[in-house]
Structures are given as C-alpha cells and as structure tokens.
C-alpha cells in the first residue's frame, strides 16, 4: 500500500490527455513583455488567460511604491498579523479598502483563498448553517469543510432553489448565505439582488465574494452587488488582490460592529505570515488607481464585448449570451477536441486557460478566455482571428 495510490485515477486521466507539442499544465512564462504579452517556449504570446483584468501588474506608481517599501521595510514580515506582522502599511491598506467599499472595517489576509477560508470557517459555528451555491470556488468549499457548520448547497444561481432550502432551515438558527458576484469559470454573473433579498427575508447574514468583479462592476468598481444597488444587503464582502489589483492577498470588509473579533478567531488570518510590505504598498497604489480608472474600466468592457461578439459571430459555442464579465468561456464538445484546440491555439501564439472537470461545472470542457483593460482592440481582433484559424486546423465545427 502506498499513500499516493489513491491518486492513480487522476494520474491516468492526466496521462491520457493527447498533448503532443504543448501542455497547459506545464506552461512556463519565460518573459513577461507587458500585461498582455509574454514569451513562452521562445514564442511571443498574447496573454488571454490571466486575471489581470484592470492591467495593474505594471502600474508605475504601484511598482515605485513596492520598490520603496522593499528598501524601507525589507522583503517580508516573517510573522503573523497577530504578532509581529502588522506594519503601519497593513493598517493603511485596510483603511484604503474600507474606504473603497464605504464600510467601517477591513481585514487583510495573505491570499484571497485564505480570506474565504478565514471568514467562512470562523463564522460557521457548530449550530449554524452556511448556504452556498453549488458552483462555488474551492476556497468557499474549503472554508465550509473547515467550519463546524451544517452546509447546505443550492443549484447554481437558482433563487427559487435557494429559497426552498432556506424555508426548511430552523428559523432561529444563525445562517450565512455565501455567493460570488461573478463565477470564475463561465464568467457568468449571479442574480445578486434576488439572492440577497431572499436571504434577508429568511434572516440570513450574507457574504459576497467579488474576487472576479472588483474593479469594473458597479460605478465605483466594488462589484456586482454595487452594480445591482444592493450593497445594503451585504454583511461581508470578500475580495482579492490577485486579480484586478495585480498582486497577491485577500480581504474582507464589513460594517458589523463586532467584526474585529475575527482577528482573534480566524485561524487562516492568524496562523500564517502577513503579506510582505512591498505587496502591501503596491496594492494600496493599485486600488487608488482603480478608483480613478474610469477609462480603463470602459475599455475593459469594450474588449469583453468585442471578444464575445467576435467569437459568437464566428460560430463558437459561448457559455453566456452576452459578455457579463471580462471572462468569456468557450464550450468545446469533449476532452479530445478541447486539448487539441488548446494546443493549436497556443502554437498560434494565444494563451488561454484550459478548464476541465472538476474545476468546471457539469463536466464541461472550456477554453476560458479573459481580457485585460490593456489589451488593444487589435489584440482582441487577433485573438478572434486565431480562434478561427485554430478551429479550422483542429476540425472544430462552428455554428453557421
């Protein structure tokens, strides 16, 4: 017996994928030319599979501030937020995010994953209920596993299905409904208004993860809840710095008067080192840039709509009827065509994410394309063109 034997089926599946010249799981970025281009395997490649939605990774002010922080405070804090790992800049970043969301309190975590893990595991106590969408991100599922709560799952984005379940829960129990603004694989938006209204009708507290919507949804870029005018129904926002903010880290914000007690009770907050000062300094500048990034936001949406329209017109099977986010997911019939398509598109010089089960809902095989505010219109057209060429080369039938 070997402890790793249980993964034999995974290893077999992995080995069975018919890649010949490139493999999506072993891509190495040798050189990053800009927010939208890299050199991979000696080839200049358009990046259309990052989460760099607002194109903040090379923001000049963020880079300058990060360099300065390295000089002033060193490479890392070597400690927990609860011990020696809170610097003045961590407090400033928390204030910056709280202001961005117009809320009282903010906690910064070392990653976005830990933000969900830390919030849900701490909030979901033994006699409580956590109600989640079936297509929730792994960080939400893992937060649930780590909590002591009873976990109830409803069908993806299905308000009525959620309500039927809420009805069955004890009226006097503490309940937390967890949803995401934008779901990262299909790029579809949640009916946040309806879901939150129903959650409140049944006396639930609500947590909205705006990881894939912060920066460009809503007037101030706070996410889908802002866009739908229901921020007053959100008890906790969770977000990340690893998408629109262009670095790494996570956060939670809230108006709850007792919020700060989570600093002493959330294990993923306590038992890890705090984000390095350079990351924190960069994040502060990037969030300020996002605040004033109206033009970028507009161009990002133009890019998303142009890509969606172009691929749709070409006859690709898209996962959403319109561009609901900068994520445009293309549905491919099976693993064989999917892997070939990814490989050929890569050889044509376009990198997208290949998404396969179990990361995708309903066993779907997807090319997950995501656009950046810094993509030029020409690059978007180039992506569409190369998609068409790839379809022809791998024999993917397009709808007329």
């Amino acid at each position: 017996m070997d402890l790793l034997d249980k993964f034999d089926a995974v290893a077999e599946l992995r080995a069975s994928l018919p890649f010949e010249k490139a493999d999506p799981f072993t891509v190495v970025m040798d050189e990053i030319i800009s927010e939208t281009e890299a050199v991979i395997g000696g080839r200049r490649t358009i990046l259309a599979g990052t989460n760099n939605y607002m194109g903040m990774t090379f923001n000049e002010e963020a880079i300058t501030a990060a360099k300065q922080a390295l000089d002033d405070f060193g490479t890392g804090t070597t400690g927990s937020r609860s011990l020696n790992g809170t610097y003045a800049s961590h407090k400033k970043l928390e204030q910056t995010i709280a202001d961005f969301y117009g809320m009282e309190h903010c906690m910064v975590f070392s990653t976005g994953y830990q933000a969900n893990l830390g919030m849900i595991s701490a909030l979901g106590g033994k006699d409580d209920y956590v109600i989640i969408d079936a297509d929730s991100h792994a960080s939400i599922y893992d937060g649930c596993s780590m909590s002591n709560a009873t976990i109830v799952r409803f069908k993806h984005n299905d308000v009525e299905n959620m309500e039927r379940r809420l009805k069955r829960l004890p009226e006097d129990a503490c309940k937390l409904v967890v949803i995401e603004g934008i779901y990262s694989m299909l790029g579809d938006a949640a009916p946040v208004k309806e879901l939150l209204e129903v959650a409140k009708k049944y006396g639930c507290m609500t947590l909205v993860d705006e990881a894939h919507s912060m920066g460009f949804c809503g007037e101030h870029g706070r996410g889908v809840a802002e866009a739908e005018g229901v921020e007053h129904l959100v008890d906790f926002y969770v977000g990340t710095f690893s998408k629109s903010v262009g670095t790494v880290g996570g956060f939670a914000v809230s108006n709850h008067p007792k919020f700060d007690v989570l600093r002493y009770t959330s294990r993923p907050y306590i038992f890890t080192a705090s984000p390095p000062p350079s990351v924190v300094a960069g994040a502060i500048k990037a969030i300020e840039a996002i605040k004033n990034g109206g033009n970028r936001r507009a161009h990002l949406w133009e890019n998303a709509k142009r890509l969606h329209a172009g691929l749709k017109e070409a006859g690709f099977d898209l996962c959403t009827d319109k561009a609901e986010s900068p994520i445009i997911a293309v549905h491919l019939p099976d693993a064989m065509i999917g892997t070939k398509f990814w490989e050929q598109l890569f050889l044509e010089g376009v990198y997208v994410n290949m998404a396969a089960p179990p990361a995708t809902p309903a066993g779907m095989f997807l090319m997950r394309v995501s656009v950046c505010a810094q993509h030029t219109t020409e690059q978007i057209d180039e992506i569409i063109k190369r998609f068409k060429i790839t379809a022809e080369k791998v024999g993917l039938e397009l709808k007329a």
């Binding site: 079936a134 649930c144 009873t150 069908k155 379940r165």
Partner: protein, 81 residues
C-alpha cells in the same frame, strides 16, 4: 432499517440516472455500483431533498455510500422534523 416506502421513493428518483441498468437494492452503492459522478450525485441529492422536503447537509454526504444509508439518513431527518 428504513421503511420500504422510503426506499421505493429513492429508487424512483435514481431510476432515470441508472444508465447501467443495475438492479436497485438497499446495498447498491452510488460510486462503485451505479458509477454516478459527483455532479449527478449533486442533482440526485437536490431531488431527494425536494421529494422529502428536507435538507440533506453536504457534511453528511461522504458517509452515505449506499441506498440504505441515504434512506436511513432521510428518515432520521424527517423524524427530527
């Protein structure tokens, strides 16, 4: 042991998913006998919840390997009201 009635109801819900035409019995397992993937199991759980008007918490699912396990769990939850 769950009532025959409960088990029958569960058979009815499983039958459309029983692609391999397995003879349903209390000791039939979802993963190895029926070969249901996790997504199909999720849909089945939702149908069972709606049929019996209960919540079958996600935390319970890893324990429920056979039809009898599910029937017992359902009755326990129904009885708790």
């Amino acid at each position: 042991m769950a009532k025959a009635e409960t088990i029958e109801k569960i058979y009815e819900l499983i039958e459309p998913l029983n692609k391999k035409g397995i003879d349903l019995a209390p000791d039939v397992t979802f993963a190895s006998d029926l070969e249901l993937d996790s997504l199909t199991v999720m849909d089945l759980v939702a149908e069972i919840e709606d049929e019996f008007d209960i919540v079958l918490p996600l935390n319970l699912l890893p324990e429920l390997e056979t039809i009898a396990h599910v029937a017992d769990a359902v009755e326990k939850i129904v009885d708790k009201g």
